[in-house]
């Protein structure tokens, strides 16, 4: 079974990348730092900075890949992902608004900016869903275009806010919208993302048969026995919450949710029982690699990982768009 072999291989690569990434960087960390305490500085870099950051990248990539796979099935379009659906832009607007209003909610361990981003993501999905419910003829293409429009609208508002603001705040906003993991220190952020990533993966995996059927069309899925309305709302909510949590903690990171499922479809086929597993195994390490490149390529300066994934993903998106076979008659 070569598909099983591909999954095993993906798992091995994921393990290797995750194990190696913490040792790569400007500050050299010898392997010995893992267990001996002869080099306290190196051990400190490894445990407090590198490992949390790599774990965060792994979780974020995993969550984005899972939600991208879910969105692609629900919207029956391989171009759907949190970024193209406007979910990321909504989250960014939410975050920038909380910075603008200097909101600070007294919640321990949760930053208000993250909550703002989360609310923004949820608002976009709720808006899209209401639109789809009110207009029964609302096609998938219309929904994708709406996502593009929402992205433009949110980006314009963000630009407006940046234009009107003083330099420091604008820089802070700008930096946030690039998406990055360099603020991750210690395991606090990782622990915040963990439940969303795990729940997102488990729930979408539980519904892998339903994802298969929904991707063939809602009426057909219903005729085969899927409770379409319930499952669809649940999966939309899970996809949005998972992606929203990532954007809230790492900023908008584009195209991981697009690339991972698409590459995996070529590797293991379209059946979601395999596809989800493969996408999850690929998405995490993909973001780890991007982030490792980001923090080493211009060392000692750091390139935000959002820029790297966008640079990779943009051409990928174009290639997908142009290479899609026109529907055969």
């Amino acid at each position: 079974m070569n598909r099983v072999a591909v999954l095993v291989l993906l798992a091995c690569v994921a393990l290797a990348v995750t194990a190696a990434a913490p040792f790569v960087g400007i500050e050299s960390v010898p392997l010995g730092a893992v267990w001996s305490d002869q080099e306290p500085a190196a051990a400190m870099v490894l445990w407090k900075i590198r490992l949390p950051r790599v774990t965060m990248a792994l979780l974020a990539g995993t969550a984005l890949a899972a939600s991208g796979t879910v969105f692609q099935a629900l919207f029956r379009n391989p171009l759907a992902e949190p970024y193209t659906l406007g979910v990321s832009a909504g989250a960014a607007l939410g975050a920038v608004l909380t910075m603008q209003l200097e909101l600070r909610l007294p919640l321990p361990g949760v930053s208000t900016v993250s909550l703002g981003a989360f609310a923004g993501a949820a608002a976009v999905v709720a808006f899209m869903y209401t639109l789809a419910r009110l207009r029964r003829d609302f096609s998938v293409t219309a929904m994708l275009l709406t996502g593009v429009a929402i992205s433009f609208f949110c980006s314009s508002l963000i630009l407006l806010l940046q234009y009107l603001n003083d330099f420091t705040r604008t820089l802070r906003m700008l930096r946030w919208t690039m998406g990055g993991l360099e603020s991750v220190v210690g395991m606090a952020d990782v622990l915040q993302l963990l439940p969303f990533a795990v729940a997102g993966c488990l729930v979408s995996f539980y519904f892998s048969h339903e994802l298969n059927l929904l991707s063939t069309g809602e009426e057909l899925a219903a005729s085969r026995g899927v409770e379409v309305e319930h499952v669809k709302i649940l999966l939309l909510a899970v996809g949005a919450l998972t992606a929203g949590a990532v954007v809230a903690l790492c900023g908008p990171i584009a195209f991981i949710g697009l690339m991972a499922p698409h590459i995996c479809r070529l590797l293991v086929g379209a059946d979601h029982r395999r596809l989800l597993l493969a996408a999850i195994l690929l998405g995490g390490p993909l973001l780890v690699v991007c982030d490792t490149i980001g923090r080493t390529i211009m060392a000692p300066a750091e390139l935000p990982v959002g820029i790297i994934t966008a640079l990779l993903g943009g051409p990928f998106f174009l290639w997908l768009l142009l290479s899609r076979r026109p529907a055969a008659g």
């Binding site: 059927l213 219903a222 085969r224 026995g225």
Partner: protein, 261 residues
Amino acid sequence: MTHHGPIIEVRGLSLAIGGKQILRDVSLAVHPGEYLSIVGPNGAGKTTLLRCLLRILRPSGGEVLVAGRPLESYSQRQLARVLSYVPQTIESGLPYTVSEMVMMGRYAYFRPLAPISKADRQIVCDTLERTGLVELAERPIATLSGGERQKVFIAAALAQQAQVLLLDEPTTFLDYRHQAEVCRLLVEVNRTLGSTIVAVTHDVNTAALHSRQIVALRQGEVAFDGAPQELMRPEVLARIYDSPLLMVTHPTANLPVIVPQ
């Protein structure tokens, strides 16, 4: 749950969409093992009626009984074990292989997280064999011709092992050879498996050749309900289609058929 009497019973069904009356007081009964065709001019409400049977559209009046039970009382899964469906427009860009697609027909029998059972695999194998798709089993659907794809969707519906197979224009977009193949398949399924077939179609000739009961709709109302021989009369057809029709006799089946004027 043995049930005697019609497997589908439609009583006084009405439906209006956006103020326009699409179906008006439609009543009909389909008995187990029947082969029913629903014909009628464009816009007569044929597809709408089928969509009401599938619960895609909710009627504004009347009721539908399936195996003696109101349609609304079924869960989606229970309904899928009684009614299966072959849609009119078939998406051509689906990324699945033929066998994956047919396996999806077994959904109503899957249990969450449980691996696909041997019995399910066997049923998919048998269905592929019956529909002549064994050679295409691992081919992606996107690489098939329209006729082959239609057979895959029929196979998926058959794998569902429901008593009734509902089809929306199963042969409209096919060439003559594939039309004949699909028709032969439906007749065979009806005869050997005893599946009840309800097919919406434009093609009165084929409907008359293969089905045992025909319902003709005209402007949302039942204009005819009976045996094909009674439908295939110039005066009856002219009334349904609002247009005079030329008829000749089929050379082998000894049935009248319509030819274009």
